[in-house]
């Protein structure tokens, strides 16, 4: 007997699909991104970081010295696992199900996020491509700038519902909408 197993996204319970049109300020949730934790052997942080940056189709999010999240929207998890295992002195572990990835974008995105994070998100202080772990509302997550008015947030799955609701509450003033990407 082969099991047919349905994959559920933790925010399935939070996003009704009722809102059809995205407003200028919009929160987008990605259903199945590939996300790996990558850890460098002590002393090899720089080399591993450089190898990671060079990997094709992988966006690198910095968590700590010697710790990153490798994110891919295009490659499958086996491809990414293969790329990562080829990096000398790096260990990696699949977190695709343990992390939830969402993006918030729009003209008011910084005003919305200022209600959630203490970090200065002015482009002079937080440039495109920059990423770091921080407190997002009550929860530790990774925040990256992926455009002038676009940020990516990665949070632990068990907290994702709370973070999502918090972001939506803070975005109410700016008519923030939410949907799964591609839905």
């Amino acid at each position: 007997m082969a099991l047919t197993l349905l994959h559920r996204h933790v925010l399935d319970d939070h996003i009704s699909g009722f809102e059809t049109n995205a407003n200028p300020n919009h929160l987008s949730v990605f259903r199945r991104p590939v996300i790996f934790s990558v850890l460098a052997k002590v002393g090899q942080e720089r080399a591993v970081g450089a190898a990671l940056e060079a990997a094709a189709d992988i966006a690198v999010r910095t968590c700590a010295p010697g710790e990153w999240l490798a994110v891919s929207q295009t490659s499958g998890s086996e491809t990414v696992a293969g790329q990562l295992s080829a990096i000398v002195d790096a260990s990696s572990v699949d977190q695709s199900d343990g992390k939830v990835l969402l993006t918030v974008s729009g003209p008011s995105v910084r005003k919305i996020l200022a209600k959630c994070v203490a970090v200065d998100l002015h482009p002079d202080a937080f440039a495109d491509g920059h990423s770091t772990n921080m407190l997002i509302g009550h929860v530790t997550g990774n925040l990256a700038r992926t455009g002038a008015d676009r940020f990516e947030i990665i949070v632990p799955r068990s907290f994702a519902g709370s973070v999502f609701e918090e972001l939506m509450e803070m975005g109410r003033e700016f008519a923030l909408t939410a949907a799964f990407a591609g839905d």
Partner: protein, 985 residues
Amino acid sequence: MTSYRLDSGGLVNRSYALTFSFDGKSFKGLDGDTVASALLANDQMLMGRSFKYHRPRGPVTAGSSEPNALVTIGSGARNEPNVRATVAELYAGLTAVSQNRWPSLSFDMGSVNSLLSPLLGAGFYYKTFMWPAKFWEWVYEPVIRRAAGLGKMVMEADPDRYEKSWAHCDLLVVGAGPAGLMAALTAARSGVRVILADEGFRFGGSLLSENLNIGGVSAADYATGLIAELASLPNVTLMPRTTVFGWYDDMVFGAVERVQKHVASPSPDLAVERLWRIVAKRAILASGAEERPLVFGGNDKPGVMTAGAVRTYLNRYSVAVGSKVAVFTNGGSGYRTAADLAARGVEIAAIVDARAASEDVVPAGVRVIRNGAVVATKGRKRIDGLVVERAGFQEEISCDALAMAGGWSPIVHLMCQRGQKPVWSEEKQAFMAPDVGSAFVAAGSAAGTDTVSAALRDGAAKASAFARDLGFAAYEANIPDVEGEYDASFAPLWYVPGAKDKAFVDFQNDVHVSDLGIAQREAFRHIEHTKRYTTAGMATDQGKLGNVNTIGIVAGMRGVSPAEIGTTTFRPFYTPVSFGALAGASRGEHAAPTRTSPLHGWAKKNGATFVEAGLWYRSSWFPKEGEKTWRDSVDREVRNVRENAGLCDVSTLGKIEIFGANAGEFLDRIYSNGFLKLPVGKARYGLMLREDGMVFDDGTTSRLGPNHYVLTTTTAYATEVMTHLEFASQTLWPDLDVCFTSVSDQWAQMSLAGPKARAIMSRIVEDDISDAAFPFLAARTVTLRGGLAARLFRISFSGELAYELAVPAGYGEAVADAIMEAGREDGICAYGVEALNVLRVEKGFVTHSEIDGRATADDLGYGKMMGMNKPDFIGKHLSTRFGLTAADRLQLVGLKPIEADKEFKAGAHLLKENAAPSMASDQGFVSSVCYSPTLGHYIGLAMLKSGRERIGERIIVWDGLRNSEVPAEVCAPVFVDPGNTKLNV
């Protein structure tokens, strides 16, 4: 008619009238009014009653330092007490109610306190209500509260939204008067990121109130020009209606923005108030200066207000506060007020100048009484005259308002909130801002400038200096000429002698000069003691108006300089901040995050009752139709696990993935027992100690590859264990080749336990999981039927044949459903943490009920897990210290009641038979209790002195809280299957 709106002028929009109510009566105001200016325009001078004596009071200022004109605004759940009418922005439909009066503002019973005033002096409460102590609760406090309370709270939930936000800038400018506007603009033109905040609803500060010509236009128009340019710059954030209330460590400023306090029905999509934390590289305090009241007999009556306030009502709101206004002054401000009033056709009764002579310009036809002193005011709900004394002669002067000018105090509050005290200046006769370092300075009249042009120049200069300092090319501001300035200097006058009535220093708390005298005589001389004994400066205005006079008067009484008296301590908040704003959005469901397990949906479908465990929601038990109590469900779940099988969500356990050539060595130092020789594909139960030798946490750790482990923690200690590992690897042994990360959220983990567990699991897993192929403590990656990779562990927390299966979180619900389906024919059930607890107590497994920070491994019966031949592990070295090896330590035992139908509870203490029920004869305590459906009676785990030697002893379980004593037998802490025959099958 005594106070009235003039026909023209002012910064109010005459084409936009606003209807509002005060004490139920309807009034009309104008757009741009405050509640106070609108009431004055309607000749309503009486706005409140004082706190102690219930004296009639009207506004004394036109700003945020107002002590008297406190009203309640709004109704129902939006009822907000103690709002200063002098800053409350008028809107259509506003309802305001006066406070502290009964039955009405005009006729107040509480004012009999005034007659009792000889009894109500400083220290009255302390002296009168000393005894009997129990009277406080029943008599004194309720009566005092009723009589002395300010506005009333409502008990309804606040319907509005609040939020908090961070802001970042190079330069924060606090106050948008002449200095602040010019500072902000000068910095902004250099490219500096500027935030300009002002508590008012309109920027401009004194430019809105003073009759000046700046660069050929009115002061207000000049301000409008500056604001327009500021608003056009992308690097400027303007924050009106925002009070910067606190200066905190590391240049963080707290501010509260009143987003929707000026609208009748707030939008539900917006917060009504927003709390800001502003991180600034530099800051300029341009908060202006406060005009001091004069302290003379009857200075608190409605109609007496500061000269600057009279000018603000006149020039900004186009309201004459009286039709015949007297002036009492010790400096130029009084003359300026007389001139402005006279120019608008208001009659000036007289100018009483405390000084012998001055150069100030006297409006034509106005009488000046030099060396004069007001010693009393006439009238009750509004003054109708003054008693003026000069050279020993008294004279009555009729008037319906009095403008008093007592000199200026820079508003330096914010700069004194981090421990520095303001500094007395003999030259300025005022307390000035202290030097708080190079990042935060005062500018304009907050720094002691006397004129608007000086304030503009000062603001520009300080902003340029900061811009240069921050690496910007400084912009040199062009300051236009200011025409029509007056000399704001004054001669100090702390107290006007010869008072014929009470002379108040603190209007809101009704503290008058003789109270200060009592405090000095009764040895409460330190200014902090004087403050607390008299309550001067302790009202909601925190003495903004009165404190400097208090200090000056006390200095006079003691014959020293105010410098010697010093000030009381300044603390946030500058003005009151609502609890709503401080809480922000963190209330209700947003108060704390919640964590849901990947099996939450599965548990819900199966009818789970959830329990909050830390931030987690865990399934507690799964009631079935016909079950009346939680015990019915739990008993059934336990029996079913022991007889058939059950599935339990254990996803909340902490899981840490560990890599590295030294990972085994690292674990060997973290755990008390050995991990170096753990074979690949095996799990091991491990005990972690704290460095003091006590047990910290426990769990199983499995070796998945030569240099790859996965460690599990208890749910409660997941974060603490992670931190513990980080501490060890980063600070203790940074040279070990080990790295790790939390994978707690990656896996949905479920425990399938019971005699039929293997049969059911075989239908899910492709791999051979027979006892030979997958024995107890096996741990490996397996493939589920259909291809999904998962991790399977043969570990048991129930004593039954059991597996823990971990699958990627997104598949958790589907896999749990599949297991339930696969186990249906075998009678599988879902079980929750309550049944889990019963199963583990029956087997004597410990949790944090036993691992409570006071237990050693040996206390728990795990002495053999102390790898004392290892060179080092955390907790090893102090585990053998004196006291931790004593023979009479509390040791883990089991307990069962002698009479099978008796019950006891966790937390109860243990006594020897016949010992007196007291802590002196304490033998230990009960750590865990449950009803065992397997045995048919209650069982418990307990920590008992020398417990292991006492198996078989009868003991008393004494529950002092519930007043019960239950005889019990001490037994081994394993109640079910002590030989583990069910585990190894």
